[in-house]
């Protein structure tokens, strides 16, 4: 290994350790802070750190996409946390632990087993160089010949979500447009931008 490789390795290791500490630390902070908003965004920081670790693995697309999805989800989750939970602003002290001894031992135990396994398992030596497009190879490796099925499933999931929303909605087309579906404009509490 050349000196450049060695420096790159050291930098990567240091970055990895820092990001890992951030991810685990902020994940733990989710339960320590009193405010729902802070808990949500502590979780967001933890996820962003995980995305950054993926970037270290040369999985550029996956890393950035993790950041995109997680930040969007955390922003929406914040809305719901604040709507449903008590004490959203953390103005009162609150404890979010339940069944502390058992939960802690399970959580810490799982972490030790997984992390210890990752460190102590006898990983094989890399033969040759990583492929050019790591993301594509990972995708092919995981999904392989089932790629088309996966894309189809994505469309099916979206359709299911939309159908579920339509079924769950308290007001149907007939409430909005009258029994003959001819009422214009629609009888909505707030008027929409397009359409009936």
């Amino acid at each position: 290994m050349t000196a450049d490789d060695l420096t790159a390795d050291v930098v990567t290791t240091v970055l990895f350790v820092l990001l890992a500490l951030v991810a685990v630390g902020f994940g733990f902070l989710v339960f320590r802070v009193d405010s729902m908003a802070r808990a949500t965004f502590a979780l967001a920081v933890s996820f962003v750190a995980v995305g950054a670790i993926l970037l270290l693995l040369d999985l550029d697309y996956l890393g950035v996409v993790v950041v995109v999805m997680m930040v969007m989800e955390m922003a929406i989750m914040a809305v719901f946390m604040i709507a449903y939970m008590m004490n959203p602003a953390g103005l009162m002290p609150m404890s979010m632990y339940h069944d502390k001894p058992r939960a802690m031992s399970v959580a810490v135990g799982t972490f030790v087993v997984l992390a210890g396994g990752a460190l102590l398992v006898d990983w094989p030596e890399r033969q040759g160089a990583p492929p050019d497009d790591v993301t594509e190879q990972v995708g092919l490796g995981i999904m392989g010949s089932h790629m088309l099925v996966m894309m189809g499933i994505g469309a099916v999931i979206l359709t299911t979500i939309v159908s579920a929303l339509v079924l769950a909605s308290a007001r149907s087309r007939y409430d909005r447009l009258g029994d003959d579906l001819k009422a214009r404009p629609a009888r909505d509490p707030i008027r929409g931008g397009v359409g009936p």
Binding site: A37, R38, D60, Y61, V64, M72, A75, G90, V194
Partner: protein
Amino acid sequence: MPVSELLLAPLALVLLAGFVVVSFGADRALAARAAGRPLTAAGLSPWPDVARLLLQRRRTTTAPDALLWRVGGAGPLVAAVLMLAVVPLGDAVIADLPVGIVWFNAMDVLLWAFIWLAGWGAASATALIGGYRYLAQALAYELPLMFALTAPAVAAASLDVREVVAAQGDRWHVVEMPIAFTVFLLCVAAFSLWGPFRAPAADDLAGGVLAESSGADRLLLLAGRHALVVAGAAFAVPLFLGGGDGPLLPDWTWQLLKTLGVLLVLVVVRRRLPVLRPERFAEVGWVLLVPLTLLQVLVTSLIVLAEAP
């Protein structure tokens, strides 16, 4: 333009500041014309506004979430600067990411967090409503934005911004995907709280997310807003307008001129259109823009297939 890598980041910041000043001046010029005032150089300069914000004392409210508030206030400017990191100037780019387009998308998604935090942290009813309005607006424009970003990526078969520029050799993307370009510009205005999309920071909410900030915090948030418009305009050029393509002048000059053009279009849009309330825009975003952008991606894919060797 031969420029060493070290100089690129400060140069980008200088150019960013320059374009912010130009967009502010253009905005003031149009306002002066509408009001019937004579145009003077002093009237166009942003310096009085910057000076007053630098001099103004900071204030706070009862029981704000100070950490989240300041993060939210400074966030948009940081996001704008990070967006610029993947915009190439001529041949040089600060961060040569193979997934530049997705990086841009990630930076604008970070704004979901930042602007909501700016509204939440202020502990004020109007600021909080502003933050929630932003999320409502963001839900409506984010999918169209993602699909509008997908179209040039499909046409160039790559997520790397420089390869998208290279793929536009003889025909700019704006010619074959005008819908994606228009939607992209709309979404740039939307994520920067600009013009018709400034409902989260609008006057009817006493300034919305800006309602309680003053002094340096307000300056950061306002500067972030202008910087986001500039970053969005700068990103539109390599994606849709051929990057530095053009006769006679060198690449980087064309790029700057095109950015200026897009920026002026956005300023005119700001002056001419009323504010679109998020509840009206929500239906437009989902029912109109999502199918349109999907169709655009379909058309682009068909063109790519038709032209495949």
